[in-house]
């Protein structure tokens, strides 16, 4: 189920502005890959190109190849909607659908894709997804209540449950803990460890310790100068990255000497 992602020579644009250039990397299946780097260096932008969410913004486009399961995501015949069904995403701010209950939020991906599902099957999906997101015990007695009534950390786990309910091959997370307190963050990091056995996970984070704790591989993005496009400075196993990085820039960033 989990797939690897081969990225080769990707340039990303907002209109005429080149935001990210020349990214090449291989994201391994069933592992956690973290992207770190200063704000505005294009890590979130790059993450959004991995499931074709980047082009939702008017004028945004991508050059290069991103191959998942032998298929180039940006081939002309590829349907972006189909890509997003296979590659799920969790956003920085928890965004449960305000009109739906907890139960309906988890099923949103299935229901909105107009798949008819039997009640028993729906119940099973909801329970499995919420258990997967470590939320089941907290909400099992109030599945009919609105999703907006949960705390921030619970809402974010609800969004993760919603993303894994459609059983994607890859799960992208854009700073999923930046709006959360340390306890909720710990819950989500534990969850990432568990999800790793089934999913390929790519996570953007501003928190270096978090990248060190949860990831197997780390990519460091940086800007060459203000106004220049961001680029991938170094992509290595996390252990090596945090003990013996190839680039002096990476070492400077990680040790807090800049950025």
């Amino acid at each position: 189920m989990a797939k690897s992602i081969d990225v080769s020579d990707v340039n990303i644009y907002y209109g005429d502005f080149k935001a990210v250039e020349g990214v090449t990397m291989t994201v391994k299946a069933r592992s956690v890959t973290a992207f770190i780097g200063p704000s505005g260096c294009g890590k979130s932008t790059f993450l959004r190109t991995l499931n074709r969410m980047h082009e939702v913004i008017p004028g945004a486009h991508v050059e290069g190849k991103i191959v998942v399961d032998g298929q180039d995501l940006y081939a002309p015949s590829v349907d972006p909607v189909e890509v997003r069904r296979r590659i799920g995403m969790v956003f920085q701010r928890p965004n449960p659908f305000p009109t739906m209950s907890i139960y309906d939020n988890v099923l949103a991906g299935n229901r909105l894709n107009s798949k008819r599902i039997a009640k028993s099957e729906a119940d099973a999906i909801v329970e499995r997804s919420l258990r997967g997101a470590n939320l089941w015990n907290e909400v099992k007695d109030r599945l009919g209540k609105p999703g907006m009534g949960l705390s921030g950390g619970q809402q974010q786990r609800l969004c993760i449950a919603r993303a894994i309910a459609v059983e994607p091959e890859v799960l992208l997370m854009d700073e999923p803990c930046s709006a959360l307190d340390p306890i909720s963050t710990a819950a989500i990091e534990d969850l990432i460890h568990e999800l790793k056995t089934d999913y390929t996970i790519v996570i953007v984070t501003h928190n270096m310790q978090q990248a060190a704790r949860v990831s197997d591989d780390t990519g460091f993005f940086n800007l060459k100068a203000a106004g220049k496009p961001g680029h991938l400075v170094e992509f290595n196993p996390t252990k090596q990255m945090f003990t013996n990085p190839d680039s002096p820039d990476t070492e400077a960033y990680i040790s807090g000497r800049f950025g």
């Binding site: 969410m53 956003f91 009109t99």
Partner: protein, 364 residues
Amino acid sequence: MSAVDAALDAQVGRSMHTARLPRFAALIVLVAMLALTALGALLLRWDWGTKWVAVPIVAVVLTDIALPLWSAAVENRRAAVDRLVTALVWTALACALVPLVWVLAKTVIEGAPTINGAFLSQDGVGHFDPVQLVKVGGHGVFHALAGTLVVTAAATIISVPVGLMTAIYLVEYARGKWIGRAVTVLVDVMTGIPSIVAGLFALALFTVFFGNGTRLGIMGAVALSLLMIPTVVRASEEMMRLVPNDLREAAYALGVPKWRTIVKVVIPTSVGGLVTGVTLAVARVVGETAPLLVTVGALDSTNWNPFHDQMTTLPVLISNAQSTNSPEDLKTAWGAALLLIVIVMVLNLVARIVGKIFAPKTGR
């Protein structure tokens, strides 16, 4: 100032205590000025029958002057300016409210006695008494009520899909394209077209197809929908823009196609506002007279069919009834006016309740 306060002041060095007007200073001044003006009116031997209205007006103006002066004398400059501006704001509020309440009160007083079972259930068909030279019977408004409902409902059925779809196009598809901006400008211009022009347009349109002298309920509906569509577009557009982009992205990221995102996420999230917008648009056109006078005409009997023959609507009935100068018809006009206000109020109430029901729930 107590001894403790004085001691504290001595410690701090500068007193924070200043002279203040009594708590209800504004009220005291207003009452005093009312009494003063009334006294002055008595001394000047005003004709109370017609000129009593001048007393509160003069009293309010005097209050607006006296209160800041008193404050300037006792308090300080800043407090005086504060009193002046506060007094002016209250005066403006009163100016805005007085006509509103007045219209409502007048309509209720004049219209309420007319409204009864017969008034609501009979139509306008009466006969002319050749001896007394008056119209007998035919003072009901059922036919106009039916006409208003049919024409407004037809206008709503035309406007809501067109307006809603246009708003969806503007918000979800036209982002920043020149055609979207052009449509927005056109909609804004349409908001301002005089209603009689809409009526003439509908008349001309139907004359092309059905010949001269055509008067149909549906023509009125077309004219009203010309007035409604811009309002519906603007209101729905605003409401759908309020839906956070996060929710759209959340849906896209789940692999939901754009159209389903609109139907299942954007519209449900904004439905409360959409309903309110549509209701306000309906309330705006339900009282339109001029375009209906031109397109729908008037008929004393009840006609439920907008595709056949003329019909009467409440505003047209009011317009026609007051023009005869007969006291009986004038009563009918007031009754119909009250009925129209009640309809609009009920619509607003329904919109509020529906908006509450559909509003996104927080669960707290």
